[in-house]
């Protein structure tokens, strides 16, 4: 993946991951599902989490829980400290210049993007203003902008996908010309495609637009630095990066966040309230109405520490090697019967493989694979416009993470062979 080439610690050579050891940290993967060993190939939808994440959360609930922001007693201060520490950890993880002010905790990546659309979009965008998206976006980075089209008369422009599953950037300057906002994924959850984000961001900025990066897929799998990307906002989810469900992250440039009105109203996000009106709090608390996901933030801290410990560059390289191995084996085994919907070149893609085997329907495929305890996802993957572009209504998708190895890929191929023989 290109992002890592510019990374400073590329100098310290990447090391081979010890997958057998890593699997031991994940009870489901080491002990099995109802006692049967399982091949989990659906991390793009949600990853598994290591015991240390669950331990951190139960430790917090057992011994450190109080509500944040309000208590004067030591216990509440401790909870506060853990929550703010999570903010710093998440911020540093993506290279935020000012983590304490620039990280907003949300429920997930979807809420983070909606926060931008509602707080920034609803106030800054007017009839005829242009928002640019791409054809390969997840609904999370599409529907909020389509809703703004309805609410504010915003015009949507779509960067198309080429037949080689990469974005068509030939007319990039034209596409972003006059745009107010450009929203683009860092990695497609269907194709694995990793767009040249920096190039898009630079063009967008030259045109005077702000840039939103959907990091839900790439942040868990590669070294991501908001300064190197050149984005103004970055959204990602805890549950896809070994963390718990219920916590997502929005990073935004401090001056941008500071210029934005609150997203939701309630406790915690105000300085003063009178019946006549409110004085909103400083950032980032301005955007965190109500009791935040405290235990989840603590779990996310543990997840990030676990990832950092292994090293994002090692994870990235492992994903790339395993993906290349799997694509090669798929082609060797099934030849013309298999179609892989994603870029050929390793540098342009992550560890997500959408495939079609003969004309077997993805649901049938997923069901037969499940009989071999191989978990893959079949469906539209929340990317209906992309499905339309691919000329299908669903794909079967296998996705990898740091706990998968070639034996998982082999079992995938074995199970696919079984499906091929059943549907012959």
């Amino acid at each position: 993946m290109t992002d890592t080439d510019t990374d400073t610690d590329t100098a310290t050579a990447t090391t081979q991951l010890d997958i057998e050891r890593i699997k031991q940290d994940f009870p489901l993967l080491s002990k099995g599902f109802h006692g049967e060993s399982i091949v989990y190939l659906d991390s793009a939808a949600s990853s598994q989490r290591p015991s240390c994440v669950i331990d951190a959360m139960s430790g917090y609930y057992n011994y450190s829980h109080a509500n944040v922001h309000r208590g004067v007693y030591k216990l509440a201060e401790e909870a506060d400290r853990l929550y703010e520490n999570a903010r710093i950890t998440a911020g540093k993880f993506v290279g935020a210049p000012d983590p304490a002010r620039e990280i907003v905790f949300t429920k997930n990546a979807t809420e983070a993007i909606n926060l931008i659309a509602y707080s920034w979009g609803m106030h800054r965008l007017n009839e005829g203003d242009v928002v640019v998206v791409t054809e390969i976006e997840h609904h999370a980075n599409l529907v909020p902008w389509i809703m703004l089209h309805k609410e504010r008369g915003v015009e949507l422009r779509v960067i198309p996908m080429r037949d080689d599953y990469l974005l068509d950037l030939d007319n990039l300057e034209e596409m972003v010309d006059g745009a107010k906002l450009v929203a683009c994924t860092l990695m497609s959850n269907v194709l694995g495609t990793i767009p040249p984000f920096k190039k898009i961001a630079d063009a967008a900025h030259s045109a005077g637009a702000i840039v939103v990066a959907d990091g839900a897929q790439l942040v868990p799998h590669a070294h991501v630095d908001v300064k190197e990307l050149g984005c103004d906002f970055l959204a990602f989810s805890g549950h896809k990066m070994l963390g718990p469900t219920g916590v997502g992250v929005l990073w935004g440039k401090a001056e941008l966040l500071d210029s934005m009105p609150p997203f939701m109203g309630g406790g915690g996000m105000i300085l003063d309230v009178k019946f006549e009106g409110i004085v909103p709090a400083e950032i980032p608390t301005r955007f965190e109405a109500g009791t935040p996901p405290i235990a989840e933030a603590v779990g996310l801290t543990a997840a990030i520490e676990y990832l950092d410990n292994i090293g994002m560059n090692n994870i990235c390289r492992h994903d790339a090697e395993l993906t290349a191995y799997t694509i090669d084996s798929l082609k060797d085994t099934f030849g013309r019967d298999i179609t892989i919907m994603g870029p050929d070149i390793t540098e342009d893609r992550g560890g997500v493989i959408s495939l079609a085997l003969k004309d077997i329907h993805p649901h049938d495929l997923a069901q037969v694979l499940d009989e071999s305890n191989v978990c893959i996802r079949a469906g539209h993957h929340c990317a209906k416009p992309l499905m339309r572009r691919l000329g299908t209504s669903a794909t079967a998708r296998a996705s990898f993470y740091l706990y998968n190895d070639t034996s998982d890929a082999d079992r995938l191929i074995e199970a696919l062979s079984k499906a091929a023989s059943i549907f012959g």
């Binding site: 049967e36 993805p362 649901h363 049938d364 069901q367 009989e371 499905m387 209504s393 059943i422 549907f423």
Partner: protein, 165 residues
């Protein structure tokens, strides 16, 4: 690993109807009735054509595309109801829904039969779809054509009451 579930689900009959669907095609509308059912989540699509004459479904045709369960169920359905009266067809629909463990409240009010009371032998090839029940997400696939059929029958009844007015 349990392969029994799999064998149940993809029994010969289902695969046979998937590969060689019965009553495939369309009919002129009118005189026939055309009903479409679509599952936007997985893209399964079934189109049912019904030709009713004097209370009898003289012909049934199926178009559409999708997974083996949705398409074989449509094929099995067409074979089961072709030539049956509208009343008989309604009974077959209700039996099939019971097979899928879908209990409609009005059914449960009037009778207390459950899947246990179903005469599987009497259901013939349809019983092959019984295995679907153990895979709840697939029930939607299996039931798709049947919803279209039920809607078609309602439309037929509406037309005939209109005529009698």
């Amino acid at each position: 690993m349990s392969s029994s579930g799999l064998e149940d689900l993809y029994r010969e009959i289902i695969l046979d109807h998937y590969r060689n669907p019965r009553n495939r095609g369309s009919m002129e509308v009118p005189p026939s009735q055309r009903v479409e059912a679509y599952n936007p989540l997985c893209g399964d699509e079934v189109v049912v054509y019904l030709l009713e004459n004097n209370g009898v479904l003289e012909d049934v045709r199926i178009e559409g595309q999708g997974c083996s369960i949705s398409q074989s169920s449509a094929s099995l359905m067409s074979a089961a109801v072709k030539g049956k009266t509208v009343e008989e067809t309604r009974k077959i629909i209700s039996d099939f829904k019971k097979l899928m463990s879908i209990h409609e409240s009005k059914l449960e009010d009037s009778t207390d039969d459950t899947q246990m009371d179903l005469d599987l032998d009497a259901m013939g090839e349809l019983a092959a779809l019984q295995g679907v029940v153990r895979f709840p997400v697939r029930i939607k696939c299996a039931i798709l054509a049947w919803n279209a059929l039920a809607q078609g029958l309602d439309e037929i009844s509406d037309v005939s009451t209109d005529k009698t007015k």
